[in-house]
Symmetry: none
Subunit: 265 residues, 2 copies
C-alpha cells in the first residue's frame, strides 16, 4: 500500500450529499480498528447501503487519517462525519438497541440474530424513534467480552462454517445490505429493461406465427400431417415464452422473409 502518499487531497469536498441519506439509519461502531484503510472501506460499504453514522472507538492509527479517504473511494461524507470515542460505552451512549457482531458463540445469554433479523429489528426500532447501532471488533480479534456485554443481541452472519472469516468492510456490507433491502424508500426495481418499445400484442404475435408456418408449409418442414399440430404448438410456445416486443416481431418477420426470399431471386 502507498503509505507515503499522505500529503494531498486530505479533505477533498464530498461528492455525495448528506441530505440524500436517512438520518435515523443505524450507527456503525468500529471498536479499536487497526488499519485506516479498513475504516475507509467500511465507509464505502456504509454509503453503498445508505448508512452514514460512523463511530470509532480508539482507532490505532489516529483520526482523521488520509488513507481512510483514499480507500473510501468517494464516501467522504461518512469519513468527514465520523466521530471518535474513548470507550465503547461512550460510543453507544445515545443508542437504544445495540448489536454485537461475532463470529463465534459466546458464553452469554443473549439473543443471536442473523443480518436479516437484525435489519428487521432495526427498522422496527427506527420506526419507533429508537436509535440502533452495530458493534464491530478489531480486525482478526473481534470484540472483547466486555464490549459484547454492552450489546442487546449477538449478530452472527451465517456463512460456510469451514471458511467464515470476513474482513471488516465485508461484514459491514452484509449487514448494511440487509438493512437497505428492507428499507421503505428504496426505489422499486423494474422487472425488465425495455426502452422505447412495447410488448407485442397477441394479434402481432399470431401474425408472425402464421407467417412462419406458411413458409414452413411451403418448404415442406411441416409436411407430415400427423405431426404438424404438435410442431406448430411447440414453436408457438417457444416464441410465447420470449415475451417479444413489437420491434422484435417485426425483426423476426424480416428474418423469415430474408431467409426465404434470397433464394427466390
Amino acid at each position: 500500500m502507498t503509505a507515503r502518499k499522505t500529503s494531498t487531497k486530505f479533505r477533498r469536498p464530498s461528492k455525495t450529499k448528506a441530505a440524500d441519506i436517512g438520518k435515523a439509519s443505524p450507527a456503525i461502531i468500529l471498536v479499536q480498528p487497526q488499519m485506516a484503510e479498513n475504516i475507509g472501506m467500511v465507509a464505502r460499504a456504509m454509503l453503498n447501503c445508505g448508512l452514514t453514522d460512523l463511530r470509532l472507538v480508539n482507532p490505532r492509527d489516529g483520526w482523521p487519517h488520509p488513507l481512510a479517504f483514499k480507500t473510501a473511494s468517494g464516501a467522504d461524507v461518512v469519513i468527514e462525519n465520523a466521530r471518535v470515542f474513548e470507550t465503547t460505552k461512550d460510543a453507544v451512549a445515545d443508542l437504544h438497541h445495540v448489536f454485537a457482531t461475532t463470529a463465534r458463540a459466546r458464553d452469554m445469554t443473549k439473543a443471536v440474530v442473523t443480518p436479516n433479523q437484525a435489519a428487521n429489528e432495526m427498522h422496527t426500532a427506527v420506526a419507533d424513534q429508537h436509535k440502533c447501532g452495530v458493534l464491530f471488533g478489531r480486525e482478526a480479534v473481534g470484540l472483547h467480552n466486555d464490549d459484547v456485554a454492552i450489546a442487546d443481541s449477538l449478530l452472527m452472519v451465517p456463512l460456510n462454517p469451514a471458511f467464515s472469516s470476513l474482513n471488516l468492510a465485508q461484514a459491514v456490507l452484509l449487514i448494511g445490505y440487509e438493512w437497505y433491502q428492507l428499507g421503505s424508500d428504496r426505489p422499486p426495481l423494474v422487472n425488465e429493461v425495455r426502452l422505447d418499445t412495447r410488448r407485442a400484442t397477441k394479434k402481432e404475435l399470431i401474425g408472425m406465427f402464421e407467417h412462419l408456418e406458411r413458409e414452413l408449409d411451403n418448404c415442406g418442414f411441416l409436411a407430415q400431417p400427423d405431426k404438424r399440430p404438435n410442431m406448430v404448438r411447440n414453436l408457438r410456445n417457444m416464441f410465447d415464452r420470449a415475451d417479444m416486443t413489437e420491434q422484435e416481431v417485426r425483426t423476426f418477420r424480416g428474418v423469415i422473409s430474408g431467409l426465404v426470399k434470397n433464394h427466390q431471386k
Copy 2:
C-alpha cells in the same frame, strides 16, 4: 502492494477440503479481471459462501498468480481449481442459465433480478440438474454488451442510487451470500413444467445463433456492417429469453435449414 514477492509459497497446500463443498453450486465468471489481488479476494468471498467454481476470461495479469493466493486468505482450493478461458462464450459453454451483473440498465430486453431473486432461480435450476453461472465485468468498466447478450438475465444489486459502486469481491460476496442464505434445504420453486427434456446448454444455443447468423449473412439480412452487431445482439437476446430446451434448439435449427434449403433445390 508487494508485487515483488512472487517467488515463495506459490502453491501451498489447501486448508479447505474441496469435498466440503456442494459440487453443483453456481460458477463465478470474471471477464477480463485486471488485478490478481481482486481475483484472490473474490476467491475468499466465494468460499465464504460455499462457492468454488471460479472461471477467468482472459485475466490481464496472467494465471496462476501469486498475489491471488495472498489475498485469498486461505481460500486456496478456489484459486487452485480456477479455470482460464479465452472468451466468455467458452467460459459459459456448459452452463444452462447465466446472469450478467450490471450496475446500470442496458438497452436490452432482459429480465432484471435482485441477488435474492437470482439465488432463488439458481437453487431451482440446480435442483433440476441445471448449471448456473454469474458473469462479472472488468473492474470499474463492467461487462461489454456482447457479454451481457450471452446472459439470460441481468443481475442488479439494489443499493444507494447516489453511491452504488461495489468492488468485485463485494459484488461476488453479496450474490454468494444470498445463495448461501437460501441453502439447500429450501423447497424447490417449481417455475416450469418441462417433461422428458432438458434446458439447452449455452454451447447448443450459441451453435444455433451462429447457424442463424450465417444464413442471415448469406441472404443479406445482416448486410449493413454498422447495424449488424446490434441486430445480432437483439436476436440473441430474444431467443435467450425463451429459455429454450435442447429439443427446441434442434427444432429451430431445422426451421432455419428448412426455410433456406427448399430454395436451394
